[in-house]
């Protein structure tokens, strides 16, 4: 018994613990415990006052019993008494008992406040720390009320010991997180930031955590910490491995502090001050350089500590997303780790690369590692590593490698762990749809999914293939043929029967000319599967049969025979029986014309976000919070993947708002033919919510309504709000904007910098800044080829009235752009009055003799001239009411296209230019903003409100401004961003 022999503890306690350990059975243990409890109770109740030591010993025994999992219903008072002891060991046990048990007895807290107060005031650092640790461990609101005001004082007092400062900083952090309203901001906050300069590294380590938390809530008030953090980091990073003595861990100077500082910097955009930024970039480069140096120790601790800093550095580089050079270096470094012998590093490299794949600067660099990643998917032993590899393949997928990635994922699916099959199926389905160039490939892929992993192909997936086949007539014949062949396999998955039944019922006529798939053959093939299928599938097949009667009159007699059979007409299942009866009657009483009308081919489905994508998001977990949803693993928010590629969703184009109504209004005319397919498909977005309503009655939208004011009647204007008015055709000599122009423009509504356009030849980058009604924009034209561009002529064109609304001055650029070179063009922009259409940027040049021309929309939208305005709730409501004319308001209700993350939403709204007003909306989930659009001629005040509904994955956005077109335009611009 080594511990007993240490002899400094409580002998009685050690004996008791030994006894418990020696108990042979649970019963014996309980018996021993009960005996001890009786003993302790009698001691506590006894007439003799217990000395401090005994009290401590018994309280400690009680604590041990509690930790074994037994309830403790006495002893609390004795523990509280221990707090006022003058002896450390007694005080410590008292505090420990309270910290551990407080959950089950919060009344204790009130009893101990006095003791804590005394200890905080004791000037004895040991006692002060005990009290601070107790507050930090309990962290309840009552404690906040009692002590939140004292702790800042202790933290910044000149005479506080270092260890007390450390504890005070974290104690304050805990209270601030639990009840921010209780912690008074004040003079101390400025001094807290300066703790970053403290001589004691432990104080800095604790203080950084507090500062990071404060920065997140009040970024502007703590901006000064950026330069302090950078210089601290710089001193650590550049120090030799032994400089920091106590804080060097396996030859790595202050790894944890470095990581914390790097995370603090991730609360902010890149430093504005050029000197600070330069210093920081130097630090980041130093870390990347050090990764290439030979290790100073072979111990894994050394490399782990070093790489902890490296990965955090890479996170910061990705966060800034503005230094192409660093991004590419980061990617190369991770590339080395992909083949490292440490599983941890391979895992982390895959994970980190996933975020790099979504940066426009490093996407291409990530793609070069495709073979290694595919290999990881095949060979890694740890399923979580394979999963990261699958995530990364998904993130790096674009049109150029989609076929390879999809086929590898399909191959992997055959042997994949059951736990991740469904996710892989969803991902394959999404990629196949997004990057389908020819839809026969898409159909093949989905049918392969069903063949390989039929059990994991959820309804969303096979609904979606039906939707797409229905909407694209160029693929219907192929789909019918393929599905017919697939059904000939002796054992095919029931999902295949569903897809086959539906497609043949709609499009079987397209292959009926071939005698091998004549109508009777099609029917008997389907019917051969009938008896093995579930009720739902049989119901679907019955609908296929009635559709066959219309498509192929020659099958009528056979099918009527099937419907008439007792096994159908008298089926125990009501649904099947009803269908058999109704279809039989329909086929006998209706004339051919009526039949043809009722059983007509399904109309195209209204397009909206892929239901599969919604499913994948749900799978990632609704409660996952910002951490999971911040877009890291969800490439749906990924610019590269989601941006430029036209998706099949564009085949039909009802407006997004009409879509909502379409959901409810559209049991399609041929409803019986698509019972499980179409019906569910149309409502599945709401499957987490209330059941779908058959009529235009109350709808899931109601969830959006709150008490702010009675809902405005849904004016036709709001509902019909169509995508932005079509841009006026430009002057004769400028071609129409490229099809993606609107999408590219949308990417820049909430941000000012980035890559505006890129193709094989040319990359156009943008950097811009706006103040009041003025703006300056830098355009960078990069020649990606090795051949010189000639007659290079970028011009800005003002379509329509824009000339009177916006003045853009450009400078000419050199007419030649060398291979690999970049030229810069400066634009000075003045907003004269409100405008709706952006100017056009036309770029012409000759490449290898061939004229090239390209027209884009310049990312100048009215919101760039937004001036954020802070106002109190009262003012907001007053102004809101002043803008109550129906035409002053624009409203849009739309589906979330990205994970619904409050932090991201905030950032977007701020990027959009409005101020965010807290404590205005009674519902804290909602966002309220205000700003003024500054133009030379007039100012337009603007209020906005965004109400997310996480359950339905939808938003309602309301804009009110004094000018009707502005409201509508802003509303449309902003609605695209979520």
């Amino acid at each position: 018994m080594p511990a007993v022999s240490k002899g400094d503890g409580m002998r009685g306690l050690a004996v008791f613990i030994s006894d418990i350990r020696n108990c042979k059975s649970k019963e014996a243990e309980i018996k021993r415990i009960n005996k001890e409890l009786a003993n302790i109770r009698s001691k506590f109740k006894g007439d003799k006052a217990l000395d401090g030591y005994s009290k401590k010993k018994y309280v400690c025994k009680l604590l041990f019993i509690f930790l074994l999992g037994h309830d403790i219903d006495f002893g609390h008072m004795e523990a509280v008494n221990l707090l006022s002891s003058n002896k450390y060991t007694e005080k410590q046990i008292g505090y420990l008992f309270i910290s551990v048990l407080v959950n089950s007895n919060s009344e204790l807290i009130r009893l101990i406040n006095n003791a804590i107060k005394n200890d905080l005031a004791s000037r004895n650092p040991t006692f002060m720390c005990l009290a601070l640790h107790c507050i930090a461990n309990v962290g309840s609101r009552e404690m906040g009320e009692a002590f939140a005001a004292d702790i800042p004082r202790i933290l910044v007092a000149g005479d506080s010991m270092d260890s007390v400062k450390q504890s005070a900083a974290l104690c304050l952090l805990r209270l601030y997180k639990a009840s921010p309203d209780l912690v008074p901001m004040g003079e101390w906050t400025a001094r807290v930031v300066h703790l970053l300069n403290d001589q004691h590294m432990g104080v800095v380590t604790a203080a950084v955590s507090l500062i990071t938390c404060l920065c997140k809530k009040n970024p502007d008030d703590f901006k000064t910490c950026i330069s302090l953090a950078v210089s601290r980091l710089s001193r650590i990073v550049s120090s030799a491995s032994t400089d920091l003595q106590d804080y060097t861990y396996y030859f790595v100077p202050a790894p944890w502090l470095s990581v914390k500082l790097l995370r603090l910097l991730q609360c902010y955009p890149p430093p504005e001050d050029a000197a600070v930024k330069g210093r920081l970039v130097e630090c980041l480069e130093t870390v990347l350089n050090k990764a290439q140096e030979p290790p100073k120790s072979k111990k894994v601790q050394h490399s782990n500590a070093k790489n902890a800093i490296l990965f955090e550095t890479i996170s910061l580089i990705i966060h800034y997303d503005s230094e192409p050079n660093l991004l590419v270096r980061a990617c190369n470094q991770l590339g080395q780790f992909l083949q490292h012998r440490e599983t941890n590093l391979r895992y982390l490299a895959l994970e980190s690369m996933c975020t790099l794949a979504s940066s426009e600067f490093s996407h291409e660099a990530v793609k070069t590692h495709i073979d290694t990643v595919i290999n990881a998917l095949k060979t890694e032993r740890d399923v979580s590593v394979r999963q990261r590899a699958a995530d990364l393949l998904y993130a790096m997928c674009d049109r150029s490698n989609a076929k390879q990635i999809v086929s590898e994922m399909l191959r992997y699916l055959e042997t994949a762990d059951y736990a991740i099959r469904e996710e892989i199926v969803l991902k394959v389905a999404i990629l196949a749809e997004k990057y389908a160039v020819d839809y026969s490939w898409y159909v093949d892929t989905i049918l392969n999914l069903i063949r390989i992993a039929g059990d994991y192909v959820s309804e969303e997936v096979w609904y979606r293939v039906l939707q797409i086949v229905t909407n694209r007539d160029d693929v219907q014949g192929y789909a019918a043929k393929t599905v017919f062949e697939a059904l000939q396999a002796p054992a095919c998955h029931e999902n295949m029967v569903k897809v086959g039944g539906y497609i043949l019922g709609e499009f079987g006529n397209l292959i009926a000319g071939d005698p091998r798939s004549s109508p009777p053959v099609q029917f008997s093939l389907l019917h051969s599967k009938f008896h093995l299928c579930s009720v739902a599938t049989r119901a679907l097949l019955l609908s296929t049969y009635i559709k066959f009667i219309n498509l192929f009159p020659e099958t009528k007699a056979t099918i009527q025979g099937v419907l008439r059979a007792g096994s159908q007409l008298r089926n125990a299942d009501v649904e099947l029986q009803q269908r058999a009866v109704e279809y039989l009657t329909l086929s006998s009483v209706a004339s051919t014309d009526v039949l043809a009308t009722v059983l007509e081919e399904m109309p195209p489905f209204p397009e909206r976000e892929s239901s599969i994508l919604a499913k994948l998001k749900r799978k990632k977990g609704p409660g996952a919070g910002s951490a999971l949803d911040d877009g890291r693993r969800d490439p749906s928010s990924n610019d590269i993947n989601g941006g430029v590629e036209p998706t099949p969703s564009t085949v039909s184009t009802p407006s997004p708002s009409a879509d909502l109504l379409g959901l409810r209004a559209a049991p399609p005319p041929a409803a019986p033919a698509a019972p499980s397919g179409a019906g569910n498909l149309l409502v599945d977005v709401f499957s987490d919510g209330p059941a779908p309503q058959p009529s235009l009655g109350p709808t899931p939208e109601e969830a959006f309504l709150s008490e702010l004011e009675p809902p405005a009647p849904e004016s036709p204007m709001a509902l019909l709000a169509d995508p932005a008015p079509v841009a006026d055709p430009g002057p004769e000599d400028v071609g129409p904007p490229i099809p993606e122009a609107d999408e590219l423009l949308n990417k820049f509504v909430c941000k000012n910098n980035g890559v505006l356009f890129e193709n094989q030849l040319l990359q156009i980058g943008v950097k811009s800044e706006f103040r009041q009604n003025l703006g300056r924009m830098y355009l960078f034209y990069g020649n990606k080829t090795s051949v010189q561009f000639q007659n290079f002529l970028p011009t800005v064109v003002h379509p329509g009235d824009l000339q009177t609304q916006l003045a853009v001055q450009t400078k000419r650029v050199a007419a030649q752009v060398d291979g690999g070179a970049q030229v810069q063009q400066v634009l000075n922009i003045e907003c004269l009055r409100d405008f709706l259409t952006p100017p056009l940027l036309s770029v012409r040049f000759r490449y290898g003799g061939a004229p090239q021309s390209l027209t884009l929309k310049l990312p100048v939208t009215i919101n760039k001239f937004f001036q954020p305005t802070e106002m109190a709730a009262q003012d907001f409501f007053q102004r809101w009411k002043q803008l109550s004319l129906p035409q002053q308001e624009a409203q849009k209700i739309f589906k979330a296209n990205h994970p619904m993350d409050a932090e991201v939403t905030k950032a977007k709204l701020l990027g959009f230019g409005s101020a965010l007003l807290d404590n205005v909306d009674p519902n804290p989930e909602n966002f309220v903003g205000a700003g003024i659009i500054q133009t030379k001629a007039l100012q337009v005040g603007c209020l906005l409100r965004l109400e997310p509904n996480a359950q339905a994955q939808m938003y309602r956005l309301t804009l009110r401004t004094s000018k009707e077109p502005v409201s509508r335009h802003l509303c449309e611009l902003l609605a695209q961003q979520f």
Partner: protein, 155 residues
């Protein structure tokens, strides 16, 4: 840039709980930095044990757990587990565990499982010196041990 990564780790470097368990699933330390009720704690303890003990040495030291992740390391028959947010720095916590274990080893002179059983009330003190409010408080082994020895000398 209005990227999702904007305010990374809404909660910062924050530990949700620290668990020390043996292979049989007996808890040797449970330190909670988030409010859970007693039943929930028991459930978490069992779940963590279930996900961690099935992994072998070739696996990573990280495992996704509910909406968080567990960073763990095995020392002889004991698993040291720290539960953090999914985007927290894995390696920093992995080494924080090791740093903690080295302190225990020094403090108890070749620590073994029984030391943690008989001195459970001291282990809490070690934890509070190194981790507080879910954050890393002190990383210098020298400083922590000096403080622990000072406390040890007090009555």
């Amino acid at each position: 840039m209005s990227r999702g990564k904007c305010c990374k780790g809404g909660e910062g470097l924050e530990i949700r709980f620290i668990l020390i368990q043996n292979r049989a699933g007996k808890t040797r330390l449970a330190k909670w930095y988030m409010q859970f009720d007693d039943d929930e704690k028991q459930k978490l303890i069992e779940e963590v044990h279930a996900v961690v003990t099935v992994r072998d040495a070739k696996h990573t030291n990280f495992v996704e757990f509910r909406n968080f992740k567990i960073i763990y390391r095995r020392y002889a028959g004991l698993y040291f587990c720290i539960c953090v947010d999914v985007n927290d720095n894995n390696l920093a916590y992995l080494e924080a565990i090791h740093n903690f274990v080295e302190v225990l080893n020094e403090y108890f002179h070749n620590v073994c499982e029984l030391d943690l059983v008989f001195n459970f009330y001291k282990v809490y003190t070690v934890v509070d010196e190194m981790f507080l409010a879910g954050e890393i408080r002190e990383t210098s082994q020298t400083k922590v041990l000096k403080q622990l020895l000072m406390l040890q000398s007090l009555e």
